[in-house]
Subunit: 185 residues, 2 copies
């Protein structure tokens, strides 16, 4: 079984250099110059770390079979050579969101906010990996990691703008956006 | 925020005395005489513990609003004075299950296996608390805790029998059943 846990370590060292950090909603995270991604559930921060955020990849929570087949047909892997730009977006949704029933959340995510269809429009340009954090007792509910080529930066800007205008995003009570560039040396 | 983590500690001490342990599918757990439940995510086993299993209560994964309203209208709390019998049932589902899309899992759970409707028929007799463990890296995917009065034991037997005959249960690859009695001293 591959390890589904990932730890994102913010500090002054790491493979990804921070280009920009902004607090979109709620309070931000401490500024750092680099982020390293470790495919483990690190219990303790490595030395030089300013913060560490953990998440686990998991089963689909909302995606239907037909949506999953459409996504799988075009979604790129993480780690393409040309994908030297990345965005790391931790978000937390409100208690009101989590207390909704499954059909109510699905209705908001897809029928009313077209989250899955919107993401699909930006494939295969934007690679994405979703990490679940809420049930680990972490400060954020989700950590999403996106990778793309520099020439796809404006497409990525468009994608996040579109999602932030949806009904689903009204339930987001904390969101941080960290833009990164692969450190090639 | 209440702590949603629970650790089930099997050993030779605890509030619940083990009446019977059986392996329903796959390999079992080491026999113990007592189980204690701690409302924390214990990192280490207390002394005298033989095993410890962790889980976290979480949002509904399949239940619709109408089902949730029906359940909430009749479901009893954990800890009723008369509920001196309990069952602790850890289960693991196969990788094939987890790779299904959300609509496929919902279809199997409710449309074809009537899991939610079956549980509802045994309310308010049987109290239940579901703990999610898979994304914590635990050996089981779910830990379910049931409580009932001694006079409702045969109802409980019926409920678990009914669930085990469903299509959903064909995806269960490990299941242990521990029956317990509240230690009144």
């Amino acid at each position: 079984m591959p390890n589904r846990f990932y730890t994102f370590v913010g500090g002054n060292a790491g493979r990804w250099r921070v280009d920009d950090i902004k607090s979109v909603v709620g309070h931000g995270v401490e500024p750092v110059s680099h982020v390293e991604i470790i495919n483990e559930n690190l219990a303790e921060a490595p030395s030089q770390a300013t913060w560490l955020l953990r998440g686990v990849t998991s089963n689909q929570r909302y995606t239907s079979r037909s949506e999953l087949d459409s996504l799988k047909a075009v979604q790129p892997i993480i780690g393409r050579k040309e994908a030297t730009c990345a965005a790391f977006i931790p978000i937390t949704k409100s208690l009101a969101w989590w207390e909704l029933a499954q059909d109510e959340r699905r209705e908001i995510i897809e029928s009313r906010s077209t989250h899955i269809a919107t993401g699909l429009r930006y494939l295969p340009a934007i690679a994405r990996r979703l990490h679940h954090s809420r049930d680990l007792g972490e400060p954020f509910d989700f950590l999403t990691w996106f990778e793309f080529a520099p020439s796809d930066t404006s497409s990525f800007d468009e994608l996040v703008e579109a999602l932030r205008e949806t009904e689903e995003w009204r339930y987001v009570e904390r969101e941080v956006e960290i833009r990164l560039i692969l450190d090639q040396k």
